[in-house]
C-alpha cells in the first residue's frame, strides 16, 4: 500500500512551461504568413456598398486601387468636403489616373499586365458624375477590368 503513497504530503510539481515558446512560435508563424500589411493609409471616408453577386480578388499583386470618397475630417481643412480621388497616398484629380495606371502597369511583369484589375473603392454617397469620369479615364487608359468593391450582403 505504501508503495502508492510515496508523495503524500508533498506539493504537486509545477507544470513545465518549456513547450510554451513552441506553441507561441507556432501561432506567430501562422500570423506572419497570413498577414498582409496595409500599403496605403486611406485618407477618405469609406462606407462600401452592399452587394450579393460578389467575386473575390484572389491575386492581390494584380490589383491596383482607386479610392473615392469624402476626405477624412483631418484633411477637410485643406481639401474640403467634396468627394476626392485618392491614388496611392495622395489626393489626386481625374487627370492623374492615366499616369497612375501606366505606373501600375510598369510595376508588373509583362505577362501579368492583361489580367490586371482596377478595384474602385467608392463611398456609397459619392455622386456618379465623379465615378463616371474615373471610368472614362480608365477606358482611355485601356484598364478595362474593373471591380466595384463591395461588402457581402445577407440574402433577403
Amino acid at each position: 500500500m505504501s508503495k502508492f503513497r510515496k508523495d503524500d504530503g508533498k506539493e504537486t510539481p509545477p507544470i513545465s512551461t518549456a513547450s510554451l515558446p513552441d506553441i507561441v512560435f507556432m501561432l506567430l508563424f501562422f500570423f506572419m504568413v497570413s498577414t498582409t500589411m496595409r500599403e496605403v493609409t486611406v485618407n477618405v471616408k469609406q462606407t462600401l456598398p452592399d452587394a450579393t453577386e460578389l467575386s473575390k480578388l484572389e491575386k492581390k499583386s494584380l490589383v491596383s486601387y482607386i479610392y473615392i470618397g469624402e476626405p477624412k475630417p483631418s484633411f477637410q481643412k485643406t481639401f474640403g468636403k467634396a468627394p476626392r480621388i485618392q491614388l496611392n497616398d495622395q489626393f489626386a484629380s481625374v487627370g492623374d489616373i492615366p499616369d497612375y495606371i501606366t505606373a501600375e502597369r510598369e510595376a508588373r511583369e509583362e505577362a501579368e499586365r492583361p489580367s490586371m484589375i482596377t478595384s474602385l473603392k467608392v463611398d456609397v454617397n459619392t455622386r456618379m458624375g465623379l465615378v463616371t469620369d474615373v471610368k472614362q479615364e480608365l477606358r482611355k487608359a485601356a484598364a478595362l477590368n474593373i471591380n466595384y468593391s463591395a461588402r457581402k450582403r445577407a440574402e433577403r
Partner: protein
C-alpha cells in the same frame, strides 16, 4: 580543466515570441477584397451612338436612374427590389412575348440548337445619382442573369453554375450572355 558554460536560460524566449505574436496580431488584416467584377467597353469615341441606334426597341431593356435615385424601367416607375424579376423576365422571355426581345437560333454545345435572346440591358444614370444606388442596380442586373444561368444549369446538370466545368459554363453563357451596356450619363436631363 575549463568549467562547462552554463546553459542559456530559455524562459524569456516565450516573452519575446509573445511580443512578436502580439505585433503581428495587431497589424494583421485578413479581409479579402471582394466586389462586383465588370468589364468596361473599349474606348471608341463617337461610335457608341450609332451602335445603339441599330438595336430594335423591343430588344432593349432601358433602366434609368435619376438624381433622386428613382428607377424608371421600360417606362415604369419601380423599386430596386422588383428590378431583378423584371430583368429576368426580359432576358428569358419564356412565352415569346412580342414586347420582349427577339430570339435567334444559335448552335450551342451540349444543348443543340437553342433560341437565344437578343436582349440588351441599357443602364443610364444621372450625374447626381448616388453610387450606392447605382451599384445596387448593377448588382440586381448581374444577379438576374446569374439566376437565369443557375436555373438553366440546375435543369440540365443538376448543379449550380459555379460548379460546372469551363466548357459547360461557356455553353450556358452563350444562352444567357450578360449584355449590360452603360450609356454615357446625362447631366441634367430627365
Amino acid at each position: 580543466m575549463a568549467r562547462k558554460t552554463p546553459e542559456v536560460p530559455a524562459t524569456s524566449l516565450a516573452d519575446i515570441a509573445f511580443m512578436l505574436l502580439i505585433f503581428f496580431l495587431v497589424t494583421t488584416t485578413m479581409d479579402v477584397d471582394s466586389g462586383l467584377r465588370r468589364k468596361l467597353p473599349q474606348w471608341a469615341p463617337d461610335q457608341e451612338q450609332e451602335e445603339e441606334a441599330e438595336i430594335k426597341e423591343r430588344n432593349v431593356f432601358v433602366v434609368l436612374v435619376n438624381r433622386n435615385n428613382d428607377l424608371l424601367v421600360e417606362g415604369d416607375f419601380i423599386r430596386v427590389d422588383d428590378l431583378r424579376e423584371r430583368a429576368k423576365e426580359f432576358m428569358a422571355n419564356p412565352y415569346n412575348d412580342e414586347n420582349l426581345p427577339e430570339k435567334e437560333p444559335l448552335e450551342v454545345p451540349y444543348f443543340g440548337e437553342q433560341m437565344v435572346t437578343k436582349g440588351v440591358i441599357s443602364l443610364r444614370n444621372d450625374n447626381d445619382t448616388q453610387y450606392g444606388t447605382y451599384l445596387a442596380v448593377q448588382n440586381e442586373l448581374v444577379a438576374a442573369i446569374n439566376e437565369l444561368k443557375d436555373e438553366l444549369s440546375k435543369e440540365k446538370w443538376g448543379k449550380a453554375y459555379a460548379d460546372l466545368n469551363i466548357d459547360q459554363q461557356r455553353a450556358v453563357k452563350m444562352i444567357y450572355p450578360s449584355r449590360i451596356s452603360e450609356a454615357e450619363p446625362k447631366g441634367k436631363n430627365f
